[in-house]
């Protein structure tokens, strides 16, 4: 399931929904990305996440479909927020459930790595010296590369 929303989400509620009533699940893996406070480096006190409505949902659905084609998954959940967020705020939740532990763990890492290089979101950071668009990181490209087939 894909959700792109301005509102916050509750991790416990979301993960509970993903496993509820399905006792074939052996493992639930999840990752939550949060806004880091880099104020001591003169950087972020807050950020605004821009996205491309319409394309975002399609690309996330495609990433979910790719994960399902690679691993035997029961549930897949991706929630990504947009709008203004402050340090400590949740940005993204990805979670997967499977009968098998490795399938859940690997697909969860895959989802966040691919999302980071393929889903149309951009971060505008507010720092001491004004705002600046975050530059894409090579380390994120390398993380996505390792899942290439």
């Amino acid at each position: 399931m894909i959700r792109v929303q301005r509102e916050d989400f509750d991790i416990g509620t979301e993960l509970a929904l993903l496993t509820e009533g399905n006792s074939k699940i052996g493992g639930l893996a999840s990752f939550v990305g949060l806004v880091r406070d880099l104020a001591d480096q003169g950087a972020v006190s807050a950020m605004t996440l821009e996205h491309y409505p319409g394309m975002t949902e399609k690309r996330l659905a495609e990433i979910e479909a790719e994960a399902r084609s690679r691993w035997p998954l029961d549930g897949v959940l991706i929630i990504h927020r947009y709008g203004r967020l402050e340090p400590g705020d949740r940005i993204v939740l990805v979670a997967t459930t499977s009968a098998h532990r490795q399938a859940a763990l690997e697909s969860c890492a895959f989802l966040i790595d691919w999302l980071k290089t393929k889903a149309p979101f951009w971060k505008l950071e507010e720092g001491a010296k004004g705002t600046a668009w975050v530059e894409a990181k090579e380390s994120d490209d390398r993380a996505a590369e390792k899942w290439k087939r």
Partner: protein, 83 residues
């Protein structure tokens, strides 16, 4: 065609979207970017780092040699930084 701009492409050009009618010789993304860069200094600045600009046509990523058509929704943006 409908043009959409995001992140620093948007802030450089100074608008989020516009409807444009490209001249007939604009047949590919490459040609479109060449032509857009002539529309004013803000376009030239936005498209200066040409090789990093990502392009999506009708919500699908495409390469710079992809054809463009008059009824396409074409989005130009920097590498994504979500997650």
């Amino acid at each position: 065609m409908k043009l959409l701009y995001f992140a620093w492409v948007r802030t450089n050009i100074g608008k989020a979207e516009e409807e444009l009618v490209a001249p007939d010789h604009v047949q590919t993304v490459e040609g479109l970017l060449d032509w857009l860069a002539t529309l004013g200094p803000q376009y030239a600045a936005a498209l200066d780092r040409r090789n990093v600009i990502k392009v999506a046509i009708n919500h699908e990523y495409v390469e710079h040699d992809h054809p463009v058509r008059p009824d396409d929704e074409i989005a130009l943006f920097p590498p994504v930084t979500g997650g």
